[in-house]
Amino acid sequence: MQVLKNNYLVNATPTFEVLSEDEIEAIYFAALRVLHETGVRVYEKEGVEVAYSGGAIVEDTTDDSSLVKMPPWMVDRALATLPRKVVVYGPDRNNRMELFKNQIYFGAGSDTPFTIDPYTSKRRRATYQDVKNFARVAQTLPNIDFHMSLGIVQDTAVGTYDRWQYLAMLEGTTKPINITAVDLDGVRDQLEMAYIRLGGKEEWKKGPIFSLYIEPVSPLSHSEEVVQKLLFASDNDIPFVYTPCPLSGATAPSTLAGTAVQALTESLFGIVLSQLRKPGAQVIIGGLMSNMDMKTAVYCYGSPEMALLSAAYTQITKWLGVPEYETAGCSDAKMFDEQAAMEATINISTAALIGGNMIHDVGYIEQGLTSSMEMMVASDEIIDMVKRIMRGIPVNDDTKALDVMEDIGPGGHYLEHDHTYNRFRTEIWRPKMIDRQVYENWELSGSKTYRQRVHERTIEILETETEPILDEAMYKELRRICELADERHKDEELDVDMFS
């Protein structure tokens, strides 16, 4: 009889690691020391108080800040209540992210001042329509699991752009969204908008439909606004992404290990504070960790160090048991060209291999200053290719095909064999914009470059009519929140038109 195997360990997917467990621990214990002995500067009184009540040492208090130092046991206690899994839904609850170890999701990036016009290819400031369009594109792309704005809305009031941004995204997609907020008021407004979108505050309890992006400043600096957002998010069951953006060599040590230590210190502070405020508050940590290019003084988004550092950090978060915010699909190129293609291909591969959870910044070019729809559409295909490799190599009697080999024998061929016929659709990856034609046929079809095909596909997506996601009534209600915000903050605006 055919007996099945036991005592057999399988790599169901490829595995990848940068750091050994000992190295992860070394970084962790070093971060504990920095948090305890160097401390972080906190610019928000309430945050300082919460930390102090929780056991922190507070010293060197000035008008606007205090130095907060936390002993290791505070971190241990916080890790005990920190959720190992965070779920973020989209307005359509069928779209969801189960954020925990090795679950990969890819998504866009936020808040770029500029964008590449998909029609003219010119770089210009982003508008409401751009943000809406990006959301529509994200909605269509199968390998984009969550969304972020990919543009700062700069044709509405400047100080309240975050509400307009959220509205534009809600108009375009039902996938989970990671929002940014100008300040605490911005968080409050967007939460109101989410309640409206869900049909009531109670609905939020069934699961949040956005996560909040919070970025402390490296090194070791937590501003008033950052801490306010953290406390508010903890209080209101909003999962938040607490991500410093340390720049190796400039705002973090020039060694990648040292950068990881500093970043972890900054993240641990956020974890401890949130758990003190509300045990079980949902936190996702990570960040844009990269190096300064020491020839051009630029913050690299496409460097191998960015990919490597993010991967190492992912391992640390897996070891700690906290969901992670990774980075991929981005580049330092100024347009979607071969450099963008190379950097995105390798950083997407790295992020998928290491098992990052919320892998963001797909569609970012020019060091995160500009968004590119073509980059996003191309990256969707790259992710698809990488996912084919992530399926690994199943080894069993069927896949070994020894009987098929015997059947066909030396000098035969497999094209017409059932084994091939039954499997080619699932085994062989089907390209979308990648071209496999022979030369003559490629010439006949116009000798197009990949960028041209991506461009065509992008325009096709943009011009495909879709059912509006929001009905009139809901749109009006949501818009009203934005308008009220504009009204409240209008005195902060400049007299001149800033951007157009």
Partner: protein, 487 residues
């Protein structure tokens, strides 16, 4: 100080588990012992029979113990030497070391001046070799094309004759037949200082290719025997096509391809125990619409990873494939596909990845693709180098020094590390938008073209010995004479 500290030297990647590899290994043994291959070479059949194989006409089956013995004898580590003695260009084959180089036999070439696609010519060979010699991340040389403007039986010899003087990096050679192999070999050993000197410090590798599925052709084996007898490191690898000439599943193609290589392994080790021997090949899928062997498919990376790990499992070095594309032009597809396979090759750690610079599914060789992939290899190597974690790199004191809101730009710690810790690109642009705009809005393609032209205008390889030049002239004349009445 900390003890019991285990660190990763470089990143660690695994496609398959030990158990899966063991099962694949047993599958290969099964194919050799129970299914068997066709061996179209009488002398080889005799050698095998004498050593214990079962021979029935053309059909040969090899018992497992013979295979294991051959695997045991083949070395895992050895060195390929730069012909001019420059140790920087030696290739150390061994666990965890990934090397890269072009491939042979594309019928077409991208003209360096016009960027047009045209037949590959004799004059392209030195150009490719000089590019290989100059590019920092390319380790060995192949010509990227089949010479079209010489007698069709002499292409391989002219390629070798054109490459050898123009790079000191080890060459992977192929040949048409025994005489061809002998002519190539004569050139190589002249430079090395004789056969004995060559055996101690080989400066080229011989490539032979059996036919999938499960056929060892006469030509492939004849050349294998030449290489074995003259102790030339040998590559004996197929190009199976999943769904065409091999099973469509990665596990199946890996098993079949390994069996095809190990048939040659057994013969080679019987003749010359301890001969350096590479398994591997080009493993990919047939695109079921375009009906081509796809050089850009993700399955290429997937399958190559599988066969690489099987090779390392049994202690053999692997002849990999990467840096290639199905794209018909130098564009983002060429770079996506090339970078993907380059990266995965680097991850699997070895041993020699060829076909870097292949475009149009191996129909057109391109030094532009080669130069662009040089960058992708550098990029990948920075990642696989990993992160060093020790007291100094953890920088706890430095962080304390700088403190909240400080900066590290002038710190002594930064000055010690920034050059080595970070990779600096050759053709990637990292300027700000205004600067990029002012400097001509170049794409990576523009910069690659510049770089290729700069290298070709300035790079001088080290010269070969005068006696080798004479020998090259001689073997070419003899070869021309030999084939002049053939059609």
């Amino acid at each position: 100080m900390r003890t019991n500290y285990k660190v990763n030297s470089g990143t660690r990647f695994r496609m398959l588990s030990e158990d899966q590899l063991e099962e694949l290994f047993n599958g290969v043994l099964h194919v050799l012992e129970n299914i068997g291959l066709e061996v179209h070479h009488e002398e080889s059949r005799e050698i095998l029979k004498k050593a214990g194989a079962w021979v029935d006409g053309l059909h040969v089956r090899i018992p497992s113990y013979m295979v294991r013995r051959a695997l045991d004898m083949a070395p895992r580590s050895f060195t390929l030497y730069a012909r001019d003695g420059n140790p920087a260009n030696n290739i150390h084959i061994g666990p965890g070391r990934a090397h890269f180089g072009p491939g042979p036999t594309c019928p077409n070439f991208i003209d360096v001046e016009t960027m047009e696609r045209r037949p590959y010519l004799k004059s392209d060979v030195p150009l490719v070799a000089r590019m290989v010699d100059a590019l920092p991340n390319i380790d060995f040389c192949e010509s990227l094309g089949t010479v079209n403007d010489v007698h069709h039986e002499l292409g391989a010899l002219y390629e070798f004759a054109g490459m050898f003087p123009n790079t000191s990096k080890p060459i992977v050679a192929w040949s048409y037949d025994w005489d061809d192999s002998a002519a190539i070999h004569e050139i190589a050993i002249t430079e090395a200082g004789g056969q004995e000197a060559f055996e101690r410090r080989p400066n080229y590798v011989h490539y032979c290719e059996p036919l999938s599925p499960l056929v060892s052709t006469f030509e492939a084996l004849d050349k294998l025997i030449f290489a074995a007898r003259h102790r030339v490191p040998l590559i004996f690898t197929p190009c199976p096509i999943a769904g065409g000439t091999a099973p469509i599943t990665p596990a199946g193609i890996v098993i079949q391809g390994a069996a095809e290589s190990w048939m040659g392994l057994v013969i080679a080790q019987t003749i010359q125990p301890g001969l350096p021997f590479f398994m591997g090949g080009v493993y990919s899928v047939m695109d079921m619409n375009a009906m081509i062997l796809s050089y850009g498919a993700p399955e290429l990376s997937l399958m190559m990873a599988g066969i690489t790990e099987l090779a390392h499992y049994v202690g053999l070095p692997l002849w990999q494939t990467g840096g290639c594309t199905d794209s018909k032009t130098f564009d983002e597809q060429a770079i996506i596909e090339g970078s993907l396979s380059v990266f995965f090759s680097a991850l699997t750690g070895g041993d020699m990845t060829h076909d870097v610079g292949y475009t149009e599914s191996a129909m057109t060789g391109s030094v532009f693709q080669l130069a662009a992939m040089d960058e992708a290899i550098g990029y990948s190597r920075r990642i696989t180098r990993g992160i060093e974690v020790n007291e100094d790199t953890l920088a706890v004191n430095v962080i304390n020094d700088v403190g909240p809101n400080g900066h590290y730009l002038k710190h002594e710690h930064t000055r010690r590390y920034y050059k080595n810790e970070f990779w600096y690109p050759n053709v990637c642009d990292r300027t700000d938008y205004e600067t990029w705009d002012m400097m001509g809005r170049t794409t990576m393609k523009d910069r690659v073209v510049s770089r290729v032209n700069d290298i070709l205008a300035s790079h001088q390889p080290s010269p070969i010995k005068p006696e080798t030049e004479k020998v090259i002239k001689k073997v070419l004349e003899e070869a021309e004479e030999r084939v002049k009445d053939h059609d």
